[in-house]
Symmetry: C2
Subunit: 215 residues, 2 copies
């Protein structure tokens, strides 16, 4: 199986019914989850800047390292990553903020905003069937902020105008997760609206799918 | 039929397939839509204030007039209303902002933000089966702002802390539409999170339902 070449040494869990006192029913290597159709969870962060004078919105976008196991060289959110079994989503994104963008925990905690989650069914030749939920976060950054990757998983960062982000989305340059998290951001910030997107309601519904897969 | 006592003289439309050049297939008096299971559309506005010093969030909440045909004396968003056939959602909310809260069109246009839509299936003894989509908008207001209703449909306005809003929600004091729009707001602003709400993902999915009803 192609997906197993990218072994992660990270465990995904299928949780039992907490109300019945059940613990986890199954743990599974992250790279193999798509073989079993197990739900995957992750956390993504939208980093954005508003010009102090004009209020013009810009969005930090990361280019993934060409050596990443999944989606090499594709575009990504400022920070993002999978959520291993038993890890709190907010604590996870705070940790990733340091590893992937050099932001300290204290800095992140003072600005990080929980903004929801997107849920979708990813079907990918390499990864298999991966019903996915991404917990989403926003962080507003100052105009002189500069991210830098500690762990080397990012090739470079770009600060893009909304129209540039939309063009990269249309070109299919974003990973599936980051693309959807970015579209959610652009709807919440009033860039993508009912007036400029004919499939507005359909998009809002389809990125909050009801999934029956175990997770 | 009980719902017909509240005749509105407002028409809801069932739209044809615009891609095939079809116009509206059916127009229906708004109060009767629930008899036929026709989708209803509306627009709701979350008005909020942040304390200039502490950044403490407060939310404007309206108490509906005791003489309203639907949900008299219940709690509502700062502004909200049904969307008649052929009306642009953003233009509609701008018009309602004046009628329901005394905000001029120029003022609203300079601050109004499109933030998405919630879609749910309302089943109500009085109104019937009403699959509903509410286009949602946010407006940040200054701390000295005071809304006043022009059309007399609001009994009074209250500026509430998030905890007070949550308590009113738990008490069932909000209309179904306003309650859901408020929950969406509280998730986007980071008040309701994965850490404090066990049904977080379920709520996010269920307020963006896929509906097959005509509308």
């Amino acid at each position: 199986f192609k997906c197993l070449r990218g072994w992660r040494n990270e465990r995904y869990a299928v949780a039992g019914d907490a109300l019945k006192g059940e613990g986890d029913l199954l743990h599974c290597e992250r790279a193999a989850a798509g073989l079993l159709g197990i739900r995957a969870y992750g956390c993504h962060l939208n980093g954005y800047v508003r010009d102090p004078q004009t209020r013009q919105l810009k969005m930090w976008t990361a280019r993934r390292s060409p050596t990443k196991q999944t989606y090499p060289s594709m575009l990504d959110n400022l920070v993002g990553g999978g959520l291993a079994a038993g890890v709190n989503p907010r604590e996870n994104i705070i940790k990733e903020c340091y590893e992937e963008a050099g932001m300290t925990a204290d800095f992140v905690k003072s600005r990080l905003q929980d903004v929801g989650a997107v849920t979708f069914f990813l079907v990918d030749e390499d990864r298999g069937w991966v019903p996915t939920t991404e917990y989403t976060y926003d962080i507003e950054l100052d105009s002189d902020f500069q991210p830098h990757a500690i762990d080397g998983e990012v090739a470079n960062f770009m600060l893009l105008l909304p129209d540039e982000v939309l063009q990269h989305l249309r070109n299919g340059e974003f990973t599936p997760e980051a693309g959807l998290v970015t579209i959610d951001f652009l709807t919440r910030l009033g860039v993508v609206t009912a007036a400029n997107e004919p499939d507005y309601l359909e998009i809002l519904t389809r990125m909050h799918r009801s999934l029956s897969a175990p997770g």
